[in-house]
C-alpha cells in the first residue's frame, strides 16, 4: 500500500476518534462512542498491518495476542471498584510503549551517516522522557489505589527541591542529547531518571487526588504518543495522540474544578498530609465519639420522616450497593422519604457512586447531586453516611488550616442526626481528621458497610 493511500485511510480512525470523544461526552451516546473508537482503532491497525507488509508478522501477532489477551482478561475480571487502578495500569503501559518507540528509533537511526536531525532527536528525547514519567507515575498510582503501597502521601524534607532537581537533570540530559552528543546511553540515563521522577512525583500525592493525577498522566501519554508519531512520521499517531493530550489536559482541569482545587495544589500540596496543627486541634476539641448498635440505628431510621443516604468509597469497597437499595426499599415501605446525596467526587472517581447505585437499580430521581442535596439536609431527620469521609468533612467549610479547606462538601451536619457507617476510626483515604465524628449529633456504627447494612435490614424488618 502506498503511503498516500495509507494516509488517506488513516483519516477513518482519526474521524472515528473525534466522534468517539464527542459521543463519550454525552451519557446517551457514550457507549456507542466507545464502540466507534474501538472500530477506528481496528481500522488503524489493519491499515498499518497492510502497509508495513509481512516482515516479522508473526512477532506482531504473538505480541498482540499476549498484550491483548492480558488486557481483555484483566479488564473483564476486575471488579467495578477497582476500575480506577485499571485505567492507571493501561495508561501506564501506553506510556511505556511510547518510551520504547523512542528507544527503538534512536537505536535504529544512530548508526546512519549524518546522525539524527535535530527535530527527530528532540522528539526522541521528549517522548522518551514523557512516556517514561507516565509509565512509572501510573504504576505508582496503580499501586496506591490497589493498596499495594500506602495511599497516604509520602513526604520527606526537601522533596519538592529534590524532585525538581531530578527533573532538571533529565531535561538537561535531553538537551545534551538533542544538541549533538547522541549516544544511546544518554537516553538510557534520561529514561532511568524519568522513571525515578515519575515515582517520586506521584508518591507524595494522596489517594483522593489520584483520579486527577491519572487524568494528567493520561494526557502525558497522549503527548508522548503524538511525539512518537513525529519520529515515525505517522499521522494517525500524531493526531490521535494530540487529541488525547488536549482533551486529557482539559479533563484534568475539569476534574480539579469539580473538587474545587487547582492542579498545582493537587500536585504539590501533598494533599492529605495531616498537618500537625489540624490534627491536634481535632483531638483537643475533646470531642468524644459515640458508637451505636445496629438496633439503635434501625429504630432511628424506621421512625424518621426523611432519610438521606450519603454513599462514599466504603460503599464501593464493601460492594454494599444492593443492600443499601434493599434498606431504602424497606424504609420506603414504612413511609420514610428516601434519597441519596451524591458528592461529585465521592468514591475514587467522579461518577463512581452513580455507577454503583445504577448497578443496584436505584431509581434515578432519588439520586441528588450536591447542589440539590445540600438545602435538603435542613429538613432531614437522619443522614446515613455509608463509608464516606472527606466529602462530608465540615473542616472543608470551617477550618482554614485543613488541607481540604474550600472544597464543597455535603452538609450532613445540618441534619437532625447523622449516622456514620465506618470500618474504624482511622482517618479516610486523604488521611485527615474529620470533626463530624466528634459532633454530638453523630453516632458511629462501626463495621464493614455491607455487614452493617445487612444487620440494619434485619433489624428494620424486625421492628
Amino acid at each position: 500500500m502506498s503511503t498516500n493511500l495509507a494516509n488517506l485511510l488513516y483519516l477513518i480512525p482519526i474521524v472515528a476518534f473525534i466522534l468517539a470523544l464527542r459521543f463519550l461526552s454525552n451519557p446517551a451516546h457514550a457507549r456507542r462512542g466507545n464502540q466507534i473508537g474501538a472500530a477506528g482503532m481496528l481500522v488503524a491497525v489493519v491499515v498499518t498491518w497492510i502497509q508495513v507488509g509481512s516482515t516479522s508478522w508473526w512477532a506482531i501477532v504473538i505480541g498482540m495476542a499476549i498484550g491483548g489477551g492480558f488486557g481483555a482478561v484483566a479488564a473483564r475480571r476486575v471488579k467495578m471498584t477497582a476500575m480506577p487502578q485499571m485505567v492507571a495500569l493501561f495508561n501506564g503501559v501506553g506510556g511505556g510503549a511510547a518510551a520504547l518507540i523512542a528507544l527503538a528509533e534512536l537505536h535504529r537511526i544512530l548508526p546512519e551517516p549524518g546522525r539524527p536531525k535535530i527535530d527527530i532527536a528532540l522528539a526522541i528525547a521528549l517522548s522518551g522522557l514523557i512516556g517514561t514519567i507516565s509509565f512509572s507515575g501510573s504504576m505508582v498510582a496503580f499501586a496506591k489505589l490497589q493498596e499495594l503501597i500506602q495511599g497516604r502521601p509520602i513526604t520527606y524534607p526537601g522533596q519538592k527541591l529534590g524532585n525538581l532537581s531530578l527533573l532538571a537533570v533529565c531535561v538537561a540530559l535531553s538537551i545534551t542529547l538533542v544538541s549533538g552528543v547522541q549516544d544511546e546511553w544518554l537516553l538510557w540515563v534520561v529514561i532511568g531518571g524519568a522513571t525515578l521522577f515519575g515515582v517520586l512525583f506521584v508518591l507524595p500525592i494522596g489517594g483522593a487526588d489520584m483520579p486527577v493525577v491519572i487524568s494528567l498522566l493520561n494526557a502525558f501519554t497522549g503527548l508522548a504518543v503524538a511525539i512518537g508519531g513525529f519520529e515515525l512520521e505517522n499521522n494517525v499517531l500524531i493526531v490521535a495522540g494530540m487529541l488525547v493530550g488536549a482533551s486529557g489536559t482539559l479533563l484534568t482541569l475539569m476534574m480539579g474544578r469539580a473538587m474545587n482545587r487547582s492542579i498545582a495544589n493537587v500536585l504539590f500540596g501533598a494533599f492529605g498530609q495531616v498537618s500537625a496543627g489540624a490534627a491536634a486541634a481535632a483531638e483537643s476539641d475533646g470531642g468524644t465519639v459515640r458508637s451505636a448498635t445496629a438496633e439503635d440505628v434501625a429504630v432511628m431510621l424506621a421512625y424518621a420522616h426523611k432519610v438521606v443516604f450519603v454513599p462514599g468509597y466504603g460503599l464501593a469497597v464493601a460492594q454494599a450497593q444492593h443492600d443499601v437499595r434493599q434498606l431504602a426499599d424497606l424504609l420506603e415501605e414504612k413511609g420514610v422519604e428516601v434519597s441519596y446525596a451524591i458528592h461529585p467526587v465521592a468514591g475514587r472517581m467522579p461518577g463512581h457512586m452513580n455507577v454503583l447505585l445504577a448497578e443496584a437499580n436505584v431509581p434515578y430521581p432519588q439520586l441528588k447531586e450536591m447542589d440539590e442535596a445540600n438545602p435538603e439536609f435542613g429538613r432531614t431527620d437522619v443522614a446515613l453516611v455509608v463509608g464516606a469521609n472527606d466529602v462530608v468533612n465540615p473542616d472543608a467549610r470551617n477550618n482554614q488550616g485543613s488541607p481540604i479547606y474550600g472544597m464543597p462538601i455535603l452538609n450532613v451536619d445540618d441534619a437532625q442526626s447523622v449516622v456514620v457507617l465506618k470500618r474504624s476510626m482511622n482517618p479516610g483515604f486523604a488521611g485527615i481528621e474529620n470533626p463530624l465524628f466528634y459532633n454530638p449529633k453523630t453516632v458511629m456504627l462501626f463495621g464493614d458497610a455491607k455487614e452493617s447494612m445487612v444487620k440494619l435490614i434485619e433489624d428494620v424488618k424486625d421492628l
Binding site: L21, M41, G71, M242, S247, M254, Y364
Partner: protein, 99 residues
C-alpha cells in the same frame, strides 16, 4: 494544531458523571501507540535489541488498546442498565450541575 483545538472543543462540556468513562476512553485512544510499535517491529534489518523493544512495545500497546476499550465499555454498561428508554433525560440532568 487542529487536533489540539478539536481535543479541547469536543469535550468542553462534559457532565461530572462521565469524567471517568471519558478519561478511560481517551486512555484507550492513545493505545494507537500500538500502530507505532507495529511499525517499529516491522522494520527490516533490525538487530536483537530492536526486536525485543519492538515486541515489548506491541505487547504493551495492545494491552492498552484492548484493556482501555473493554474497561470503558464495562463502565458505560453500568449507566445503560438504569432506565434504558429514559437515558437521555438522565444525562441532561447531570449536565446542568456539572459546573
Amino acid at each position: 494544531m487542529l487536533a489540539i483545538f478539536l481535543g479541547f472543543e469536543v469535550i468542553s462540556k462534559v457532565p461530572t458523571l462521565l469524567h471517568t468513562p471519558l478519561m478511560s476512553g481517551t486512555n484507550a485512544i492513545h493505545g494507537i501507540v500500538l500502530v507505532g510499535a507495529m511499525i517499529v517491529l516491522a522494520q527490516p534489518d533490525k538487530d536483537a535489541f530492536a526486536w525485543v523493544v519492538g515486541f515489548l512495545g506491541v505487547v504493551l500497546g495492545s494491552a492498552n488498546v484492548v484493556g482501555g476499550f473493554v474497561v470503558t465499555d464495562r463502565m458505560l454498561e453500568m449507566f445503560k442498565k438504569r432506565e434504558p428508554p429514559k437515558a437521555p433525560d438522565a444525562g441532561s440532568d447531570d449536565g446542568t450541575s456539572a459546573g
